[in-house]
Amino acid sequence: MERTFQVLNEIEAAGLVLRYAIGGAMGLMFYTEPLVTFDLDVFVFVPHSDSSVVTLAPIYDYLRERGCEARHEHVMIGGTPVQFIVAYNSLIEEAVREAVDKSFKSIRVRVARLEHLLAIMLQTGRRKDHARLAEVLDSVPVDEAVFSAVRRRHQLEGAWQEFRRRFA
């Protein structure tokens, strides 16, 4: 896992991504109990993302030159299938912008804030996201002021009320 995080930092230092943040189940695990996942979601800002075609090709080329094999939507980095996801809406963009530095065996790794990860689950809204959201809210402290502000900024109050109706 150290190798995976090291490579993410290298990709950012090389300017292939402007900024990255770990999301998904692995991101959540920095705050919650261990969760079963088989891939690592990495949200990224890429250079020239204002152009009509956004491409991850430079990242894939860089990794291929270093022996990292592409498998479907993943790239194998240090034995971990990594999926790079270009920040695709304002919530993900904010999650990447406000992500925080953490460490794994002394390697720096940037992780989305818990409140953003929760909001992303609310926005995605699959049954498994809601079930996981309910478990997280029951087990770890959440900064309610931050979480409610994120919900308001990204028009998630309706989804939140629906979630509460089903799970509260």
């Binding site: 896992m1 995976t4 695990m29 261990p34 088989f38 240090g78 034995g79 971990t80 029951d138 087990s139």
Partner: protein, 63 residues
């Protein structure tokens, strides 16, 4: 509800909550160790029950 069932339900609920909080307090390095074990178990069950092949991470692999 039958008081015995109610007591069992509440105990189960409390134990699950306590277990989650205990696990959440582990270091991220410990959590990843647990994740690798959970991946192995999940992959074995998926293969035995559904013939679905899931690949646990091999963190010793290079690059």
């Amino acid at each position: 509800m039958n008081p015995r069932l109610q007591e069992l339900a509440e105990a189960s609920f409390r134990q699950k909550g306590e277990r989650r909080r205990e696990l959440a307090a582990l270091s991220i390095e410990e959590k990843v160790e647990i994740l690798l074990h959970l991946q192995q178990m999940t992959a074995e069950i998926a293969w035995e029950t559904r013939r679905v092949k899931l690949e646990p991470w091999n963190l010793d692999s290079t690059p």
